[in-house]
Symmetry: C2
Subunit: 450 residues, 2 copies
C-alpha cells in the first residue's frame, strides 16, 4: 500500500483525549472524544488519521509506531497570555498591579534591549513552555524590536506556532522603556513584514494597556490592524479596580475601559484581551458581538489580588465570549496550564460554581485555539491539523499514582475523575513528552528528540 | 575535648534560617535568625549548638560534619491540620463542604476499619509528609480505633512527633461511619492511655465538628479534656456559610458556632480549630482570650470555595490568636506547606494584604509549633530542642535556578526575596532532605538514611 511506503508516515499509540465542541454550551460527553487505545497517524507533521488502534493498525502495519502505554495524549496546550521577558521575575513580592509594574516589571523588561540577553531568556522561556506541554502561546515581548527578533528567531528554530509582538507604550512609564506613537507604529510595521507568516509565526499588535498608551498610539495600533487585517491585537483589559479607575481618569470621554480600545478600532475577531476580571455585563456583550477573546489568567489574578474571573458571565449562552487560559508569567505563578486549571477551579468555586476538568482542558486546548482563531490549524486531532501534541503521565508522582491506580480510564466517568485529579495535582512532571509538528521536541526522561 | 569524643555528636553545615519571635507582632528582621554559613551541632537527636561556621568549627573539629553547600536549612514544617485517611481522595471533584463529606469523604474513611488498609495508607501518608518537609502534624484519623493504632504505629516506627486522634461522630453521617457518645468516650480514653506520650506521640480528642456530634458527645469530649489535661482538642470550626447556618439550626440555644464548643468545655490552650474562615470578631476575641489556635488551610478553603481566611483579623494586636498553616488533605490540594504558603499569599492579596515569606515560613515552623503548644520542643533551632530539620534547595528546577542565581543570600533583603520565590515556586522537589531527631529520614536524591 502506498502510504505504508511513505517514510514520513509515523504512528503514535496511546489513550487520546481531545474536544470537538465547546462543553460550556453542549452536553459535555458530546464534546469529548476519547479513545482508550487509539492510534494517531502523522504525515509530514500533520494529522492524517485517528482511530481505535484495533481498527486502524491493519491499514498502517508497516509504519513505525511509538507506543505510550498508560499515557493520555492531548493536543498541545495553548497559553493565550504570557510575557516572555518576565520569565526571570516570576514571584516578585508584595504588590498589586500598578505598583508591581513600576517596581519590578519595567526594570526587568529594560534588559531586553540587549539582543544577547533577550536570546538567552527566549531560549529558557521556550524550554519551559515545551516542558509544561505548551505548544502555542500569545506572547508579549518587550518594547524593543530586538526583543521580538530574539523571540521569533528562537521560536522559528523550534518550528513553533507562536504569536508575539513588540510592546507599544508611550506614556506613564519610565523613559528607558517607552517608545513614541510614531516609532511604535513604524517598528511594529517593520516587524509584521519581517515575521508575520514566517514559518508558523504570527504577529500581534501589542499596546501594553490603555494606561501606557496615548490615544494617538492606540489609533495607530488600529491603523496597523486595518493595514494588516490578519494580524492580532493583544493587550490587557480590566484587571484590577485601581487600573479601571485610572483608565476612566485618562479617558473621561469614553464609555468605560473596553470602549477606549473600541474607539481606536482595536476590538475585533482577532483581538485577545488579557484578564477581564472587572468587566461589566455590557462589556461582555460587546466582546461577544465583536467575537473578541479573553485570556483568563487565574494564578496571576490571585497573585496580584486582582479578583475572580467571572467564568459564568463570560461563557453565558446569551453573550458567549471566546475564552482561553493564560499563565501570565511573570505575574502568574506557574508555566503549567495544569496548575492554571487548578486555580481556575478554585476561582470558580469561590463564586459557587464548578469548573469540570473537561471544561478546563477544553479551555487549555481547543478553546485556546479558538480564542486565537487557530482552530483550523491546532487545538484537537482533526485530520489535516498540525500535529502538536503532548503525552501526559497521570501517575507522575507517588501521590498521583495512589490517586489514579487504574489506567487507562475505561469510561468517560472514570476519565473525568482522572482528568480532574490531573488538573489539581499535575505540573510539569506530568508532561512525559511534547511533539511539535509530529516530532519529539521534549521528553521528560531525557530521551533524545528524533 | 570531651564532646569531640562523643560518637553521638554530629554537625550539619549550611545556611540556616529560623524564627525567634512572631513577625506579625515585631519588626520582621528582629524575628529572623539567619546564618549564611552556619554550623548546627546535634547530640543524641537534640540541638546542642548553632553558630557561624567560622566561630563554632574549631570547638567541634573532630566530629563528623555533613555539609549542604548552597542549601537553606529550616526547622521541619508543622502541619496543623490534616486527615490521613483522605490521602487517596485528594482532588475529588465538584462539591462544597457538606456535599463533599457525604459524597467522597465518608465512603473513603469507611475503609479504615480494616487495619491492614489503614497501615498501608498511614505509610504512604507519612512518606508524603517527610518528602514535603513536614516533620510534625496534627492529624485526623478515622472513626475506628484501628485507624488510630495504624497511624501511631507507623509514626512511632519513624520516631515522629505527631498528634492524632480518633474521629468522634454520632449523628448526621451514615451508620457505617458513626460511633455513639459513650463508645467514642470509652474508645478515646483507651487510645489516650495507649498512645499519649508514647515516644514522641501525643493524643488529640477529635470530634469531627459540631454538625456530626450530639451535645452529649461534645460534653463527653470535654470530660476527657478534664480527665487528661494535657491532651489536645482538634476539630473544625466555621469553614463555610452553610455549615455555620446548619450549626445555628442544630444548636439554637448557643451564641454561635464557637460557643457550641465553649459550652462543652472544648475551648482552651490546647485546642486547635481548623479553618475559622467565617469567624466573627467576637469569636476571634474569645479564641485569643482562651489562647486557642486556628489552623489556616488556604488550599482547602479555595478548593471547596469556603472563603478567604482573615489573617489580618486573626493576627490583630488587639486580640492575637495563635495561627498555624494546615494542608487539610484531602480537601487541600497539596501536601506541601510551600504550596500552602503560595495560596496563603493569594488569599491575603485578594483582601488587599501582603503576607511576606518570613511570615509564611514562621507560620509553617515556629508559629505552627506554638499553635500546638510544642514551642518548647520544636519549631526553631534553640539549644535543647528536638532536631527535626529540613534542607531546602532553592534551585530545585531550572526556573527556580533562573530566579535565584546567587546563593546563599548575603543579606536579609536578599533572603526575603529568595524565600518568597521559594514559597511561590517550591514544592516537594525543593525538599532536599528531612532529618528526624538528627537522623536523615528522607533524601530527595535517594541517598540511604544513615
Amino acid at each position: 500500500m502506498h502510504q505504508n511506503l511513505n517514510a514520513s508516515l509515523h504512528g503514535i499509540r496511546g489513550s487520546f483525549l481531545d474536544f470537538i465542541a465547546d462543553p460550556f454550551y453542549q452536553v459535555e460527553q458530546d464534546c469529548v472524544r476519547y479513545l482508550p487505545d487509539g492510534l494517531l497517524i502523522l504525515e509530514d507533521g500533520y494529522i492524517k488519521a485517528l482511530g481505535a488502534y484495533q481498527e486502524l493498525a491493519a491499514q498502517y502495519d508497516k509504519i513505525p509506531i511509538t507506543a505510550y502505554p498508560n499515557r493520555l495524549i492531548l493536543p498541545g496546550f495553548v497559553d493565550t497570555h504570557i510575557h516572555y521577558p518576565q520569565t526571570e521575575m516570576i514571584a516578585a513580592y508584595g504588590e498589586q498591579l500598578l505598583e508591581w509594574l513600576n517596581q519590578y516589571t519595567f526594570p526587568t523588561e529594560a534588559k531586553f534591549k540587549d539582543p544577547s540577553y533577550a536570546r538567552r531568556i527566549a531560549d529558557c522561556f521556550l524550554d519551559e513552555l515545551l516542558k509544561n506541554g505548551t505548544t502555542t502561546a500569545l506572547v508579549f515581548a518587550a518594547v524593543f524590536p530586538e526583543s521580538v527578533d530574539a523571540f521569533f528567531e528562537a521560536a522559528d528554530r523550534r518550528n513553533l506556532r507562536m504569536i508575539a509582538g513588540k510592546v507599544m507604550m508611550d506614556r506613564n512609564a519610565p523613559d528607558y522603556i517607552t517608545d513614541t506613537a510614531e516609532s511604535s507604529y513604524e517598528e511594529t510595521k517593520e516587524l509584521i513584514r519581517k515575521w508575520h507568516h514566517k514559518g508558523r509565526l504570527l504577529y500581534a499588535v501589542t499596546p501594553r494597556f490603555a494606561i501606557t498608551s496615548t490615544e494617538k498610539q492606540l489609533k495607530l495600533a488600529g491603523q496597523l490592524l486595518q493595514e494588516f487585517p490578519d494580524v492580532y491585537l493583544h493587550t490587557h483589559l480590566s484587571e484590577n479596580t485601581k487600573e479601571v479607575a485610572f483608565v476612566a481618569e485618562l479617558f473621561p470621554q469614553n464609555q468605560g475601559y473596553l470602549d477606549v480600545y473600541d474607539q481606536a478600532g482595536l476590538v475585533g475577531e482577532r483581538s485577545v484581551f488579557a484578564h477581564g476580571v472587572q468587566l461589566t455585563d455590557a462589556e461582555f456583550r460587546r466582546l461577544s458581538e465583536a467575537k473578541a477573546a479573553i485570556a483568563c489568567c487565574p494564578t496571576s489574578n490571585l497573585f496580584l489580588g486582582s479578583g475572580l474571573f467571572k467564568f459564568h458571565q463570560a461563557k453565558s449562552p446569551e453573550h458567549p465570549v471566546k475564552v482561553g487560559l493564560g499563565t501570565d508569567i511573570g505575574a502568574g505563578t506557574s508555566f503549567s496550564l495544569l496548575q492554571t486549571a487548578n486555580e481556575a477551579y478554585k476561582v470558580a468555586q469561590l463564586q459557587g460554581q464548578s469548573l469540570s476538568a473537561f471544561k478546563s482542558l477544553y479551555l487549555a486546548t481547543l478553546g485556546g485555539a479558538e480564542a486565537l482563531c487557530l482552530e483550523d490549524k491546532i487545538g484537537n486531532f482533526e485530520v489535516g491539523k498540525e500535529a502538536d501534541l503532548i503525552v501526559l503521565d497521570l501517575q507522575a508522582t507517588p501521590l498521583m499514582q495512589l490517586r489514579n491506580p487504574h489506567l487507562p480510564a475505561q469510561s468517560l466517568g472514570q476519565l473525568a475523575e482522572a482528568a480532574f485529579a490531573l488538573t489539581m495535582m499535575g505540573d510539569d512532571r506530568a508532561i512525559q513528552a511534547t511533539y511539535i509538528m509530529g516530532r519529539l521536541a521534549y521528553d521528560r526522561d531525557g530521551h533524545r528528540p528524533v
